[in-house]
């Protein structure tokens, strides 16, 4: 069961990522990125991270990708055009990435002593304690200050986004 679930959703993940590269229209790329993120959420579930799976769907597949599709539609982005720069970047880039992936793969496949992943194994084996309890205990006791700082960061990001994206003559037209 575990093997089947992993293969199906890892396949979805890779297919979505490859489709993102092959599509020339940004809206198609955005939709395949949603497929990647949703199947990653299932893989998180398989690894016993329930909270992160739900957060992945809400934050990434929901909020961030809605923002992306909204911007694609707002700017009316069309097909991308091939230029001289992209032709030069291809051979060099592909070689570099293949080397990078080969190094990663050798290191990963040589690692010994990794546990097998099984269904129903979370971070805790206590019967009455879910993952969520463990996570919230650490997050809201030990790491409360970083959590609160993150909320300030998001507030600043919202204000910055509004300030950057605002049309430059907006104030003057409002005054008139």
């Amino acid at each position: 069961m575990y093997l089947i679930l992993f293969i199906v959703f890892a396949g979805f993940c890779l297919a979505g990522a490859i489709n993102l590269l092959l599509q020339t229209h940004p809206i198609n790329s955005a939709l395949s990125l949603i497929v990647v993120m949703t199947s990653l959420a299932v893989l998180y579930l398989l690894l016993g991270a329930e909270f992160l799976a739900i957060a992945q769907i809400i934050v990434y597949a929901g909020a961030v990708m809605v923002l992306f599709t909204f911007v694609v539609m707002l700017l009316n982005a069309g097909r991308e055009e091939r230029t001289l720069g992209s032709r030069a970047a291809r051979p060099i880039g592909f070689t570099a990435v293949v080397v990078l992936l080969a190094v990663f793969a050798t290191v990963i496949l040589r690692v010994q002593g990794l546990n097998p992943a099984v269904l129903g194994h979370g971070l805790t084996n206590a019967p009455n304690q879910s993952n969520l309890v463990l996570l919230s205990q650490v997050l809201f006791h030990e790491l409360l200050l970083p959590f609160e700082v993150t909320s300030v960061l998001i507030l600043i990001a919202i204000l910055g986004a509004v300030a950057i994206a605002r049309r430059e003559g907006a104030e003057r037209t409002a005054e008139k």
Partner: protein, 106 residues
């Protein structure tokens, strides 16, 4: 029956994550649309998150999952600011092709 109860090694997750990261790098290099380049960055962030979750599972470390939570929050803020910058660039230049956006000044 053995297929149903088969447990998979964690190396597969790490390998999947490495492949996703490499696809993100390729997208970053070959895509010529500003928004798609930004999407490739998000793909790389997701690949790294999968590695974090895998190692959290390996060592039963809850802080690994919390780190992924923080990465998600920062990525959300980054997406908001980045897309605002893309809108500002489009207003100033009227194009999204990265080859045409080659000057810092307006």
């Amino acid at each position: 029956m053995s297929l149903l109860n088969h447990a998979i090694p964690l190396n597969w997750y790490l390998l999947l994550s490495a492949v996703l990261f490499s696809l993100g790098v390729i997208g970053f290099l070959i895509k010529r649309n500003l928004i798609t380049v930004f999407m490739s960055i998000e793909l790389m962030l997701n690949a790294v998150n999968l590695t974090f979750v895998t190692f959290a599972y390996q060592w039963n470390a809850v802080k690994g999952q919390i780190f992924v939570f923080f990465v998600m929050m920062v990525a959300a803020a980054e997406a908001a600011v980045g897309l605002a910058i893309i809108i500002a660039v489009f207003r100033a230049r009227g194009t999204l092709a990265v080859d045409r956006i080659n000057l810092m000044k307006l």
